[in-house]
Symmetry: D2
Subunit: 257 residues, 4 copies
């Protein structure tokens, strides 16, 4: 918590496929979904973040070892091209998350290779894109990710995501949404994996202007700040198998690793 | 709980490599580690289980779709040949666990592909094989997996496993062990993934006769019984993405999946 | 799980105040709310349960040491007279729950002394009694408490309960409800305290015929079965401070408790 | 995390009984246990904290409404006089914790009225005071409370605390200790209750100079920083029952609380 003075280095990742294929999406997100997400983070964390973007079509999807090594928080949006993401890059991102890099997974990113790899489950859910009204309710008003947003957040039109959401029990359940159709969904969940923090937030879709919604942008910015590793955790060695125990051999002789 | 009358169909899997390579291990486990584990389950759950074994060298490692479809609980032991297990078989086992098949992971199985896949973390830990005494303490005396064993279970000689054990927080922490060297380890952990229950139990090693220890055998049998799916869960459809929401469209018209 | 053959001894507790004061409630629940709850448990667990009832106006509220000592599962309904329940009885019930007796807390029981004492929080929530439709969604289809009921359970008219529900994070979140007004609520939660299991289930109210709803009755019966202690846990000594450690003194001499 | 610039207002509470009765304790803690705890917090959080102390013998035990209303974090040490703490003061402290005040409970404070009230369980454990060596192992190296201390922390002489520790499952298990006798204990646990954070840390006793141990002092200071409410949470209304739901009546008309 002493490290809030420092700048959080954020990489906003987007597959950037719908924007190129569909005029309507391009009109909705002229800078791409990554552009809208990045703008929301910057406007809410002025002077606290250094934000860059990366997309699928770039070499190594823009997620080289160098980029990840200098990233404190990665945000992930994908939908139409999950299978186009190289397994090698997925393993690299997983290694960095387990080593302490924060990860914010957005909406349809629930089905991304990286989220499914970190969860170990199908991450399947129910869905229906028919302009439902979504209400995002805060279960933990004291949680930093819920700071400064009303309960509920009212999203006039949005894709419905419904339970059963096949994930491990989250470490913290911060938001639960209801939809016009009556469905419910765990829309804001935190997970710890290795040294890394992960936050999943479901609102947002290529077919609705949700990433322009000020409360949604505020939550994403809060999540970026919350998953950012502490200064002290940023340079932690990656966890690895340790050839000997710490303390002493059974005979009492020292055997520090 | 109405299904305890039925027989639990158990498949005990073992890589069966040390037993073939090392005379000492063969002498310790003449029927193989799978033979000792199977015998312990049968002696503790007489008339309640139907136990078969499967090993790495068999076609598809003995874990065909047919075998898994008729398995209620799979136990897993591996160490020297984790990388020899085919990814296709790992995916198949994962799918069955998420669909409701119980899984009991033993000792060095912490580094198996299937456990790492289900956990999403490195599953690394500290270790030292120098004949430490292990004490296995019960944290949840009411838990079915701890039924009928003393606290602590005293294992005169065992490999040390120590924290940090890089796993997601377990749903339940049933056992914690201490070792002669002073180390501690979360030696009995439960996890739910999809419709499946998973129990990890660390005591047991090819270099020590731990699978002949009556309390260790009792815990493994308890775990088999506890991860076994309820009758009602055994035929659950595998979780999958649902094309529409359940209840109604935003306009109120019915749209059941 | 070997103890399902035995009979589960259930005590259904009800303050039984609204039924005496209000004609409409008496008409809705001619046998009292306790009568309706008891009937639902008996019809769903024929031959597996021995059900008796107890009410506020009885000596010691019908919850003497003898009654509790011969109770496997206690269900609790209260609303208008929480403060009339004697602290001595609350302490007695708490002691039995921590010793292994199961507890099922229903609806407005969220504000009972016993639930607040076991939770340590205010257990406050939002509410509105205006004939909302409640949909009870299952998050854990494999959970024994969700066995045999549709998702969602549709309750045509019910009091709205909404978040923030001020409870500790439940060990398992089995059901989440939505209401016509758009609110959401964690309507089915499990907790472990000491050796005892607790299940909170929110549907049900004196002003609506919810305890006649077959799915609600099924869930309550499932919960009774699920919180019932295993045979092996029924006679566990109450947890207590232990005057010495288990294993050995620092000098190595034995010092078993 | 934006609030680390502000000063954290800490009140260190101590029953201060052993120090007055026993020469040896007075010699060990000439400023009282509260003096040693306060000094450890101040030396580790220079310029970040404003620390005062309060003790049992003061009016209202030094914990008036005014004192608590201007306290961000309360630390609690008690042992010989738990029953001397007025229930009215316990209720007051509970209300402030649920409203957002942080609480750090130390060692024998496990049996304090306030901790037992917040946990809802007996909080019993095993103990033996025979100069055991305690090793405090970190399970979560990335956790802010574990920042800057070795794993294990080596405490040459300490009272043994052993499982079963009768508490609800902690939200996070940060430290587990082993003792010379072979016992294990969950020595560092976090809990969220209402808007408040609670951290229990077991090392420390009147009969050993543990509160002079630099690593123990560091952990206590880390815990104070970690349970301190965010600026945004400090003025949160105390949670309370809400007379109406938030959103709309079943007929769609507005009915904001």
């Amino acid at each position: 918590m002493t490290d809030t003075a420092r700048t959080i280095r954020v990489t906003v990742w987007n597959e950037n496929v719908h924007e190129q294929r569909e005029e309507a999406v391009r009109a909705r997100y002229p800078e791409g979904i990554h552009g809208a997400v990045a703008a929301g983070i910057e406007e809410n964390l002025k002077g606290q973040v250094d934000v860059r973007t990366a997309t699928l079509e770039q070499p190594e999807h823009g997620l080289t070892e160098e980029v990840l090594a200098s990233t404190d928080v990665l945000t992930w949006w994908g939908h139409a091209a999950h299978d186009k993401v190289a397994d090698e890059v997925v393993e690299r991102v997983q290694r960095h998350v387990l080593g302490g890099m924060g990860l914010v997974v957005l909406h349809s990113g629930h089905f991304s290779k990286i989220f499914r790899t970190l969860m170990g489950t199908t991450c399947s859910l129910r869905w229906r894109s028919e302009h439902d009204r979504e209400l995002v309710w805060t279960l933990k008003p004291h949680h930093p990710v819920a700071e400064g947003v009303p309960s509920p957040i009212v999203i006039p039109e949005q894709e419905m995501y419904g339970e059963v959401f096949d994930i491990p029990d989250p470490d913290e359940l911060v938001f639960v949404s209801s939809f016009s159709g009556g469905e419910v969904f765990r829309s804001g969940c935190s997970f710890h994996r290795g040294n890394g923090r992960i936050f999943y937030f479901s609102p947002g879709d290529q077919a609705y202007p949700v990433y322009h919604h000020p409360d949604v942008r505020k939550v994403i910015a809060n999540a970026v700040r919350w998953v950012a590793p502490a200064e002290s955790a940023r340079d932690l060695p990656r966890l690895q198998n340790c050839p000997t125990g710490w303390y002493e051999n059974a005979d009492g002789s020292e055997a520090r690793a």
